[in-house]
Symmetry: C2
Subunit: 452 residues, 2 copies
């Protein structure tokens, strides 16, 4: 794919320099909007993008525009005349126009809103008011709305008349004259029914809808639970105000998973792709947790300091500190990652906490025993330490893994219950706690078994 794009890029440049515009237009017309956008994003020199863009057929141009990254969009808009800008905005669906307005700097936004026709401008302004990541912010207001008394024939006529501007006609919504959502019908339902059937007769009344303020993550979960292609969004009075379509949900799912992964790696999520982030952006997203965790690790150091005497008598014990800390951290990290993902997919609820703890206890004992046995053999056979020392290390290992799994599974669940993001309770955070626990346990066992 990438190699093919590379070749294409070279030949497009060559054609452009040879001024073979008609050939260029033919090539570009057969391409997908997403591919043209990636072509524009990389390497092609900035000056020729506006010229190439003007070669695209109108509809493809609008589709390509939507697929481009913010920088390229901004550059293009700046090169547009007012009438060119108006043309692009007229072609955009409202939800894409809103995304655009949210990303652009203020002076560009002003130009965009000025060129949008009054109706679209009003829609954009309404949608801009919904909080980021809410159902309202990802919905579109261009959907097919039908009335309960319409027959199949009326409905098809109405769809043919207005369908071209709608984001989808696959799911249509039946509303009362007060715009209350009464039901939904698929285009399949309409096509399969006899011409004189009314919408009332074929509509599904039990429609799953969300409020405008609902979190986009919840919306995405509904889509995957109920296998939806579109979902209506209603306001406080149950009036239909928009629909969310499945293509936007794909993006939400990817975005939410990325956010979880970032949080689990002690990163403050940034909402741009890696290569678009500046050094300062990356520093800003990574330094808070590094700093916090570094300070917390001080406690672990304090524990070691307070056992300085014991350690100086049995220096060999120091050699096993990293192994104990790492194994503890890894065990806890495994438990927390599993629980965090389970909570985020709603496979696990807070009410399952006792089942989870009981499961983790058994897994911890099984893992602890396995690792302790392997380690005991290795300590005696390879490291040739004394039996009491080996015992100290292996008992610490079992207790550490036990505590790590327990901390690793309970902290995310408690965070979830009190409304915090469980993803923060992942490996780095758990490791810091488990480090301290493992050292305390280690020195306890050492002082009992080795009597120091």
């Amino acid at each position: 794919m990438t190699d093919a794009l590379e070749t294409l890029r070279t030949s497009i440049k060559a054609l452009f320099e040879a001024k073979k515009y008609a050939t260029l237009r033919d090539i570009l017309s057969t391409m997908n909007a997403a591919d043209i956008a990636s072509l524009f994003e990389d390497d092609i020199s900035e000056e020729i993008i506006p010229l190439l863009y003007r070669l695209l057929p109108k509809e493809l141009a609008a589709d390509t525009f939507v697929e481009m990254d913010t920088d390229t969009q901004e550059m293009l808009i700046k090169s547009f005349s007012d009438s060119e800008l108006k043309e692009v905005i007229d072609e955009l669906y409202v939800d894409d126009a809103v995304d655009l307005v949210e990303e652009m700097p203020a002076n560009v936004v002003k130009r965009i809103l000025l060129q949008a026709d009054p109706e679209k401008r009003a829609m954009i302004n309404t949608m801009l008011k919904y909080p980021e990541d809410s159902a309202g912010s990802i919905m579109t207001t261009e959907y097919v709305e039908l009335r309960p008394r319409m027959t199949v024939e009326d409905a098809i006529l109405s769809i043919r008349r207005s369908g071209i501007e709608k984001e989808t006609i696959n799911n249509c919504y039946i509303t009362s004259s007060a715009r209350k959502l009464l039901g939904a019908v698929t285009i399949r339902g309409i096509i399969m029914a006899a011409p004189e059937t009314t919408m009332e007769q074929i509509m599904e009344e039990n429609v799953i809808s969300v409020g405008t303020m609902e979190d986009q993550e919840t919306v995405a979960q509904h889509f995957s639970k109920y296998n939806l292609l579109a979902m209506p969004v209603v306001d406080g009075e149950d009036r239909l105000v928009g629909i969310v379509t499945v293509d936007d949900v794909l993006d939400v799912l990817e975005e939410e998973a990325t956010e979880d992964i970032e949080k689990m790696a002690a990163i403050v999520p940034a909402d741009k792709p890696y290569l678009k982030l500046s050094t300062f952006d990356l520093w800003k997203s990574r330094i808070p947790w590094l700093l916090l965790l570094m300070i917390s690790a001080t406690f672990t150091g304090m524990i070691i300091t307070s056992f300085e005497n014991a350690l100086s008598k049995f220096v060999i014990l120091t050699a096993y500190i990293p192994m104990l800390m790492d194994t503890g951290g890894n065990s806890g990290g495994q438990a927390s990652a599993t629980i965090i993902r389970g909570l985020s997919l709603k496979d696990i609820e807070f009410s399952d906490i006792f089942r989870v703890i009981w499961k983790e206890i058994r897994v911890a004992l099984a893992c602890g025993a396995t690792l302790a046995i392997c380690n005991f053999a290795k300590l005696l056979l390879f490291d040739k330490v004394s039996v009491p020392v080996a015992l100290t290390i292996c008992l610490t290992l079992i207790v550490t893994i036990f505590c790590a799994k327990l901390v690793g599974c309970t902290l995310p669940m408690i965070a979830y219950k009190i409304g915090f993001d469980p993803a923060v309770m992942a490996s780095p955070f758990i490791t810091t706690i488990v480090d301290a626990i493992s050292l305390l346990v280690y020195f306890q066992f050492a002082s009992r078994i080795l009597s120091i």
Copy 2:
């Protein structure tokens, strides 16, 4: 949602005991398949599920069946008579039937295939041959196929005749008489066109398709890149054999993200939800990496042992080992998590490796400097160590973070290049390497600065 289900569960039980079957049927008929399935999965006693299931209208029953977990499905099938089983299988789409057959024990599979009609049995058997997680394994063979010369009128007639059995009619595919894929047309395209227009005239010829053996992750990426609702699957001779629909892609996206998260937490992915996994399953998925990483941590221990003398002279140095190791691990983990996710979303390609390294070098220096300055102040003001000791610790910190970020960003990219899963090169693995590096650096600086 969950509380509402709880209340519902109680009232359904009560109605069942009071033998109010008609009321029960009315309640169940208004519910969603997914909700009925979750109702059946939890707590409701096993004996009454088959009885409740028989109250459902036929189509809703089949939908509910698809949504249930494997255990409930198996239990239900065992309670079915042959004719009841046949009824369910007749209602299932082929891809759902294949999923079912893949999950059930051999004796149940035999019964299922025996009850399926010959045509469906043949389709199931063909699809079972595709490898797990391939496009072939997630596609459906029930799609709308049209011919190039068909007019809009013919097409609508054909869809009305066969559409009810198809998984979707929103996307239709145009094939030659040799079943070669010629183009695609949406139901919107058909409805909007004049009755005498032929499919040839309105079809999109530049259709994005995949081969049967393509990885499901690639399929999912195409859906999100090109905003697709369905994608055709072709065999080696470019003949259309099936389509993948977006609802299955939602599941793939969630599954793949879960797998990445598990691998990044040193877990061997298991393909069941957490609460369905036995202690043995969990032990099996967690112990391999714990064991491997425990053994690798031995090297870190060996480094400490070889510097035993130095440490016994400056015991204070031991107290900062956990902080240095943790900060190194966290820094490396941040870099690797970002790169792994970027690779998996195709935001980053191997060809970006030098841009990535250069970015990470700058971020590492920025983070290292910040942390070192904070730490230096803390060491002198609170811990009251000598300046040379503080210098040793802070210089180690900078070098460790530098190495950690470098290792954290290059290992996943190299793994990706040589065809390994980059997700394995995440925090636990990086931590083990960085631990050793940080100690080596620590003792180097200690011996130079503190001349031990």
